[in-house]
């Protein structure tokens, strides 16, 4: 206890110090969140009203979306926030991805990184979040991740809409020579007794009005846009094949590059004989790239088409040095992780009561080990980046989850002082597109062919074998039951690498350190809503050459599997129904309880099922949203698993667009189902064994279950994310259903019956 207090005081001292410095700086500097972006003009006939929207003379509203659209629907959800307060016709909405400017920084994502439970509202937690938020503002990084888009935009984008509306009203009042209070608005028009003007007619004059700092915001009871299933603004273009993704960028005189990276992690180039390749048609350059902290050693070919570049690349005799890790394989990794699980130094993420003492004294002790493999992201759009180095400037076109990092990291390899980032659609992100490897490579290639835009496109094989993987993780869970078969003590001990630590080291090796706790390693384990008198949650940090990174819900994706499956085991040992067992621990968590009960009821929990079919349930809170899923699984005679139906309930607080929320649940479920049933990256000889969709299988139409989603309304007080929370519960729900159907407890993903 004493050391715990000391640690907390040390953390507090550090945070207070940091907050003082950061807060003082920001107080001095101030942060105007409605200002216009720097150095960006308006297209003819349009004017900026705050840095978050432009209105054209025709009344069309273009909302500036600070997060990247990668399928999650953010390019519709955020414009809805503006439209609500602006009082415009939703049919007049269009969107544009924001330019790189600290105005559009995502401070919420940074603040979410502090390792405190979401329900911890103590002074230390609040101080930590606040100072991290301020640090996030100072850092100024525009990033899309952590299911933070709507949460981060909620305040500022409604304020921007309200400010713009006030400016339009002020312009009309000025023109009519009356007070603003005498004017009202209605769907894109300002009215006063006997007269009215459209926003388009007023915008030029409105743009000259001062931007009000604290415009009045609507009472949620009067919302007309927020809470509706407005059709997505990007769907028509995506249906017609007109949406432009990174690899669809075409520029005059553009060339294409194919790349081969060292297949062994940490290896280097020994020799590349490019004589044959240079003689092939269309080939312009063969470029050798040294390994950097963000990218592997590689050879690239630039040609007048990607296929010609790829063919020439294949004609190069490349020899690699394997380096230190040429013998690494999955068996060795499992052995190393097992050692750490047994004996490694752990960090504590949660201590309640005295779990070790209670476990040692337990009459009934339940213990199990769980394991998940590394996983690839396999975004549908293979990794790519287009760069042009010209006149001391580098222009970069890339679908990136972190355009600010692109601006920072492209300059060095491009050898220029100025970088301009252009952001097309992302053909899937899932965390993969927060990485800068392809950006660094494309910038280095473009530097070698100045004046020529080059599109570097990885093959699927390069993508699969040079990903930053969802961490492999091992866990040991122990539980002691009391005389009434309730949980008395719970101990969760897991081993994995750190996504946050490794990404930091890739981006800025000098900042690499194991000192900071990485919340993502223990999220979904240290922040449970279940009441237990004694609980200890620990994590042991592993270091391995296999790079790891963020992946749709990361830590939650495996910790939910460990926790919710083990809980099912404990319920079974306690001879209790799994729903009833969970319910008994949720008396103090009414939102969780309601979500659990909604899913159970809709799934027909307890009702009979056909033979060889089982029903399983799981509940997980992640990214401030609570999700329960009940899965029905049919087990074929040959052991094949078929997920027939998934019932999902979510409480995300305010559902800004219920249609998008529902589809994000479906999306998260299918993504998690692929991981549960198929996903496994293995290593042999220091290389990834899988290479493409034939040996890294996906859930497809024929094996996609029926999915039914229920949105639980919990009012306006809460706001959670929706891009990721659908993923964590599906693997445990399916594994628990397999147990219900067969009596076999599967503790390793992907799920395979013995």
């Amino acid at each position: 206890m004493k050391s715990r207090l000391r640690r907390r005081l040390l953390i507090a001292a550090g945070l207070v110090g940091g907050a003082f410095v950061v807060g003082g700086y920001l107080f001095y500097r101030g942060r105007d969140r409605l200002r216009l972006p720097e150095g960006v003009g308006a297209p003819k006939g349009e004017a900026w009203l705050t840095g978050w929207l432009r209105i054209g003379a025709d009344g069309a509203v273009t909302v500036i979306v600070p997060r990247q659209e990668m399928g999650q629907g953010i390019s519709t959800a955020l414009p809805m926030l503006v439209a609500e307060e602006l009082d415009c016709d939703p049919a007049s909405l269009a969107f544009e991805q924001a330019p790189v400017d600290s105005l559009y920084a995502n401070a919420t994502m940074i603040a979410d990184g502090v390792p405190f439970r979401p329900d911890d509202h103590g002074w230390l937690a609040r101080l930590a979040r606040h100072s991290q938020y301020k640090f996030g503002e100072l850092l100024g990084v525009q990033a899309t991740g952590g299911s933070t888009g709507v949460r981060d935009g909620w305040e500022v984008m409604r304020r921007a809409g309200a400010a713009a509306r006030a400016m339009l009203v002020a312009a009309a009042a000025e023109r009519w020579g009356m007070a603003s209070a005498e004017c009202s608005t209605e769907r894109g028009t300002v009215h006063a007794p006997g007269r009215s003007l459209g926003y388009g007619e007023l915008v030029a004059q409105a743009a000259r009005q001062p931007i009000p700092a604290n415009p009045e915001l609507k009472d949620p009871a009067r919302y007309r846009v927020i809470g509706t299933s407005l059709a997505r603004l990007d769907v028509p273009a995506k249906t017609e094949g007109k949406a432009q993704f990174g690899c669809d960028v075409r520029l005059p005189g553009m060339r294409f590059a194919a790349i081969a990276q060292c297949p062994v992690f940490g290896g280097s180039l020994k020799h590349a004989d490019a004589s044959k390749a240079r003689a092939l048609p269309g080939v312009q350059a063969v470029i050798e790239l040294e390994a950097t902290s963000t990218s592997a050693a590689a050879v690239a070919v630039v040609a007048d088409g990607w296929w010609r570049a790829k063919r020439a690349l294949d004609a190069i005799g490349i020899e690699w040095y394997a380096g230190a890790h040429g013998e690494l394989d999955t068996a060795a990794l499992r052995e190393a992780f097992t050692q750490l699980l047994e004996r490694g130094d752990a960090r504590t993420y949660e201590t309640l009561g005295d779990a070790p003492r209670e476990l040692a004294a337990a009459k009934q002790l339940i213990e199990a080990r769980y394991e998940v493999p590394y996983l690839a992201h396999a975004t549908m759009e293979p990794i790519n980046c287009t760069a042009l180095v010209k006149d001391g400037r580098c222009d970069v076109w890339v679908g990136s989850q972190a355009p600010t990092l692109v601006q920072w990291l492209a300059a060095g390899p491009a050898g220029v002082g100025e970088v301009r980032v252009h952001t097309p659609f992302l053909g899937g992100g899932f965390g993969r597109r927060a990485e800068m490897d392809v950006v660094v490579q494309a910038a280095a290639i473009a530097r070698r062919v100045p004046g020529t835009p080059v599109q570097l496109l990885w093959s699927r094989e390069e993508d699969m074998q040079h990903d930053v993987y969802r961490p492999m993780a091992l866990a040991r869970l122990r539980c002691a039951l009391d005389a009434e078969a309730r949980i008395r003590a719970w101990h969760h001990r897991a081993v994995s690498q750190s996504c946050t630590g490794e990404l930091t080291a890739r981006l800025q090796p000098a900042a690499a350190s194991d000192l900071m706790k990485d919340k993502t390693t223990a999220e979904g384990a240290f922040d449970l809503a279940y009441a237990m008198p004694h609980r200890l949650v620990e994590h042991v940090l592993a270091h391995q050459p296999v790079p790891v990174g963020f992946w749709r819900s990361v830590g939650h994706s495996y910790n939910a599997f460990f926790v919710e499956c083990f809980l099912d085991e404990v319920a079974h040992a306690a001879r209790r129904d799994p729903v009833e067992f969970r319910r008994a621990m949720l008396a103090g968590a009414p939102r969780h309880l309601r979500v659990l009960e909604t899913a159970a009821k809709a799934a027909g929990w307890g009702e009979p099922l056909p033979p060889r079919t089982g029903r399983g349930i799981a509940l997980a809170e992640s990214f401030h949203s609570i999700v329960a899923q009940a899965a029905e699984v049919q087990v074929a005679a040959d052991g094949g698993l078929r997920v027939m139906r998934v019932v999902c309930a979510i409480d995300c607080g305010r559902a800004v667009n219920p249609g998008i929320v529902t589809r994000q649940m479906e999306s998260g479920i299918v993504y998690g189902l692929t991981a549960a049933l198929h996903g496994e990256i293995t290593l042999k000889g220091g290389r990834v064994e899988q290479s493409n969709f034939h040996d890294y299988e996906m859930v497809r139409m024929a094996d996609c279950p029926k999915i039914e989603t229920h949105i639980v309304q919990s009012g306006w007080e809460h706001l959670g994310g929706v891009g990721e929370p659908g993923t964590p519960p599906i693997a445990p729900a399916v594994a628990n259903a397999v147990f219900a159907a067969t009596g076999q407890r599967l503790r390793r993903l992907p799920l395979r019956l013995a």
């Binding site: 399928g71 769907v235 088409g305 659609f425 589809r663 493409n692």
Partner: protein
């Protein structure tokens, strides 16, 4: 050099005859609606119609399509089911990241051309493309919707 008929227009493509059709479309003709996903015919992002048949253009050499009618998403409006498919896709709000959708739409058009009233099993068999956003349930519903709209039109 290969002579192709793409979306009803004759095109000369200055590429080797063993070049996959996908790269002729994307890099030589600038038709970027057809996507690269895997290069081994395993994901369907590159699906186009060749004489009305779904074809994975990433493994189809130019020599195999000379003289045949190629339709890509850019020319999909020329196929009868397209308008109904488009409307159903929007009604169901199918697309998320959207990258696989041109291939999905082309596969759905071919299915409805050959089978105006597909069952769920027919859809399972015909739509083998990969979508990482998990739009499968919406695609299934949209195909049924489009089939119903086309049937109504025919009456």
């Amino acid at each position: 050099m290969a002579r192709l008929s793409v979306n009803g227009t004759g095109q000369d493509v200055p590429l080797e005859e063993d070049t996959p059709l996908l790269w002729a479309l994307r890099d030589a003709l600038g038709l970027t609606g057809t996507k690269f996903g895997c290069g081994i015919a395993a994901c369907g992002a590159c699906t186009v119609l060749v004489d009305g048949q779904t074809t994975r253009s990433c493994v189809t050499p130019l020599s195999a399509v000379a003289g045949k009618a190629i339709h890509t998403i850019e020319g999909a409006a020329a196929r009868k089911p397209f308008a109904a498919v488009r409307a159903a896709w929007i009604a169901e709000q199918v697309a998320q990241c959207g990258y696989c959708q041109p291939g999905m739409v082309m596969a759905a058009i071919a299915l409805l051309e050959s089978n105006p009233a597909p069952t769920d099993a027919d859809i399972d068999a015909a739509i083998t493309n990969v979508c990482r956003c998990g739009t499968y349930p919406r695609i299934r519903t949209a195909i049924h919707l489009a089939a119903a709209a086309l049937a109504k039109e025919a009456r």
